[in-house]
Symmetry: C2
Amino acid sequence: MADAIRALAIDAVEQAKSGHPGMPMGMADVATVLFTRFLKYDAADPRWPDRDRFVLSAGHGSMLLYALLHLTGQAGMGIEDLKKFRQLHSPAAGHPEFGEHPGIETTTGPLGQGIATAVGMALAERMLAARFGKSLVDHRTWVIASDGDLMEGISHEAASLAGHLQLDRLCVLYDDNNISIDGDTSISLSDDALKRFQAYGWATRRVDGHDHEQVAAAMAWAMRSRKPTLIACRTIIGFAAPTKAGTAASHGSPLGAQEAAAAKAAMGWNHGPFEVPEGLKERWEAAGRRGAGTRRSWLKRLANHPMQAEFDRAMAGRLPEAWHEPLAALRARQAEDKPKIATRIASQRALEALVPAVPEMVGGSADLTGSNNTNVKGIPAVSPGNYAGRYVHYGVREHGMAAAMNGMALHGGIIPYSGTFLVFADYLRPSLRLAALMRQRVIHVLTHDSIGLGEDGPTHQPVETLASLRVIPNLCVFRPADALETAECWELAVKRADGPSVLALTRQNLPALRTDSGENRSSRGGYVLAEASGERRATLIATGSEVSLAMAARATLEAEGIPTAVVSLPCWELFALQDELYRSQVLGSALRVGIEAALPFGWDRWLGPEGIFIGMQGFGASAPAEELFRHFGITAEATVAAVKKRLG
Amino acid sequence: MADAIRALAIDAVEQAKSGHPGMPMGMADVATVLFTRFLKYDAADPRWPDRDRFVLSAGHGSMLLYALLHLTGQAGMGIEDLKKFRQLHSPAAGHPEFGEHPGIETTTGPLGQGIATAVGMALAERMLAARFGKSLVDHRTWVIASDGDLMEGISHEAASLAGHLQLDRLCVLYDDNNISIDGDTSISLSDDALKRFQAYGWATRRVDGHDHEQVAAAMAWAMRSRKPTLIACRTIIGFAAPTKAGTAASHGSPLGAQEAAAAKAAMGWNHGPFEVPEGLKERWEAAGRRGAGTRRSWLKRLANHPMQAEFDRAMAGRLPEAWHEPLAALRARQAEDKPKIATRIASQRALEALVPAVPEMVGGSADLTGSNNTNVKGIPAVSPGNYAGRYVHYGVREHGMAAAMNGMALHGGIIPYSGTFLVFADYLRPSLRLAALMRQRVIHVLTHDSIGLGEDGPTHQPVETLASLRVIPNLCVFRPADALETAECWELAVKRADGPSVLALTRQNLPALRTDSGENRSSRGGYVLAEASGERRATLIATGSEVSLAMAARATLEAEGIPTAVVSLPCWELFALQDELYRSQVLGSALRVGIEAALPFGWDRWLGPEGIFIGMQGFGASAPAEELFRHFGITAEATVAAVKKRLG
């Protein structure tokens, strides 16, 4: 049965004239044991909620996964699809892409992401089991990971977190083949991987990855373990290829016609390209049906479960009926109270309204809970062995946190939000990119969003970070101007089911700017916060903390007889989606002045060639916040002076 | 003596009303032992090349470093400077900032960066010792690292690399205090750090960090070790503070007047704020002079060393006299030969000209040597115990690689360049940001720079990456259009002593576009590659692989009677530095069309509101490259059609 995987991998890579045959050939035995004897799934319904999750972290070996999906008889991965491996519109893309086929649990390829995403899945399983009970949620997460996955830093953060939280439903099958692209791993790697994972609190074992019984015994052991498990499977990359096996030559290129033929001969595989003999295919399809009975029993349990509707709702990603009512009440209250608070504090108030109303929301922070204000009173954190909480102390592990959040969202039943400083978005960026690519609802609370954080200095002051996030497709970057806008942006982020969101929030207090709470004005991305008293001579366009600065500048300009409007632009992406007419009405044809305590990159779009930009020109500095705003010329006075100079 | 550090840290944080007193108070004993008995330095010349490097990875404890610089009598860190801790223009910034004081070896604060940078320093030391001999290069790298540093993923990559390369001159003093911002580390961390580092090939020990003799014995042991060493120093954060010691309350906020007074009383410290009794200060200054004799002997050895001039040149960062001649010859040859090659191959040819001529250039790749084309024939790699090479197999460790490159550049004597795929710039971004902030000459060769990489699909195809890099201050992003421009950009990157550079290079072949090689036309960032035959009706502005596409479009447009110019814009940052007149002449007043196989973000600056952009609108896809360019409408035909439609 494993040879069928190998043959398909060889053929598909040959046909595509590109791809990675070595890994599927090396791990075919391990995968066969997993899919025919251990993995809980039913090929008839690959999205069945209580299935085991299988993550191919070493995504370059995508043909391993596609061959398994095909062989087990899953719809949507026919032999014609395999023949179009790595071609436009084929579900068999170069790397596994979430959304291309229901059997692909997550997008992988960037090394380390799969294993870290799987940690989030395994945590989600434990948390949902705590919420809905073992009769509805009782499954495992299996990962195939490579040397490259384990070399990446994110594997440390993820494995350390999994060990700490004792995620015993997680099993990593480590393809220990001693080969990476540059050659033998010994040129760059001397880790004792087993000892390393033991240091994280994992149970470990080593097996011959081509010995089915050894592999099966280790998997059975893993299922009994009370710790997460790492099974190092000693394999030969490109197994069966007579000259390229065990070398980097089989890693990332087709074997070539001659070597391919010889490999098939060595396996005793005498079928044509893309041919799997009927009997073998039947055995594979029988394996694909192994879980059918288990799934049917589960469906019955679900049908009779008192929490059925709630379970279905959460897993489908539908929000509770009245989820936004407490938030609407908060907005109304804030329109009256006009709290002068930092938007990070406003965010906490929004969470106090949201989290009790949306039970699938799970918070956290990368060791900055008190600074990010991501906690909600009375909501406990998960801890080793106890998963009934709804908050995760991720530790100083931004990257692992973001990947785990992706895994929770992909698992379903959880809307993860979490926090760090905005500048440290750089640390989690590769996982955020995948969230955007997979269109997952994860929400990053990124506080301390400018030089307004003050004394911590340029290492902690984002100046380029907003732009660097705005350029990521499918991501919404919200930078609210006051408490009320913060509540609006939270509402939009939670409602947004088809992509990640970032909330960029201040450390420093901001005055309340709005007294209306009926319409969610942030939903259009930008709007006229204060119209000019007469025909506009200037439009001040600002985000976040600089909107109140713009309002102060407007007051002076109006007093000096210069009719000035202020536009708040909390979300560029939503504003860009509005029609041209709306946008031109908001931005106006008068002198446009952009104000943001960040670099001008990207602002030309809103300001045009004649616009003025008030903001940063380089990195920040260490000093109290107010002094920095003066030092860098980001003040109402500077804005007024620039407008008057231009208008003559 | 340690109490003097504690007292100064307490006073400075109280005065600033912000900062982190706990860590300096906890690690004062360890630092005192290091600075008074082990660290090789001379306060009279903090930049002496053969000094030991000291890296405060836990940069939030900056007052520990500033107190040491002050107490040992280094110029430029007077008591007045400490009183201005965290104020504008003070060298005592919130976190240690490279360049603010000669005794600050690197900027730290973003956790994990210091320890990873130190790995690069330790490797640089070994490589320079191999080149210049032990009589000129024979020093150590000491690091103070926190729980947070060790939780970060980059610590895994760095420590794994250091263990592999047996960097035995590296000693990490781990401030094992069990406290992070969110509270006791047990809420998020269960690692056995010693076992973990042993798994990397390090030697480890645990000591009581308040017992000077235990600490000294461990440091002496570290100096004898043949492996890198981790000394876990069990300390009490905020040591001596009666109620806040051992708690997160002492981590990141002033102690408060009452607790500060009580801490001083507990230490028996009865001096005023910022007062250090004369006798104690003298003892500290004597410690600061400990290395004076060693430095004088070294200076004598240097003066008599046959390689003195070369050593001075390399350490000063001055390029060899005739360094650019082989490159100029290459450019002249390419102007004649017109090679049709990928720019990554052109980069390799440039390196073949540069690397032999610039002996301080040290290459590498994050396990993509064959894809990044960063190797040069005949240049050996370093390996465990053998540091005579000039190439580093960094493994799949992009982040650790970039930080190590920073460390090499900071150490001096090395110009590091290295490679990965452009999309994986995300993985190394936090270190690249620090290189930009510190203005270090590190060069990142980032290949496979668009959908032109083809089948690997959207996870590997950068669409937002160019923009995300262009927004980083002090960074130059080069995207050359052909082999000749690639050589020009390499010349500029190597010459650029005050900041990092990125070369974004293609996987796919490109035609040669230039036949002139006299002037380095890329040095102005952008230039008219082909002027229109008559008065311009359109200007096609492109970078990298899309310049040849623009040339093809121009041919068609000219043939149809539409005079069209083509502008190559290989480096936006250098182009932005040109005067307004030059820029407006290059860009012209005709219809502007930007062409880049990436997102439009940032292009408005060059195109204005009336411009057209031909490029990507979202993530890529998996298919052969040519098919993708057609699929996404990035072709000469699409460009011609867009121009004609607009011109009517």
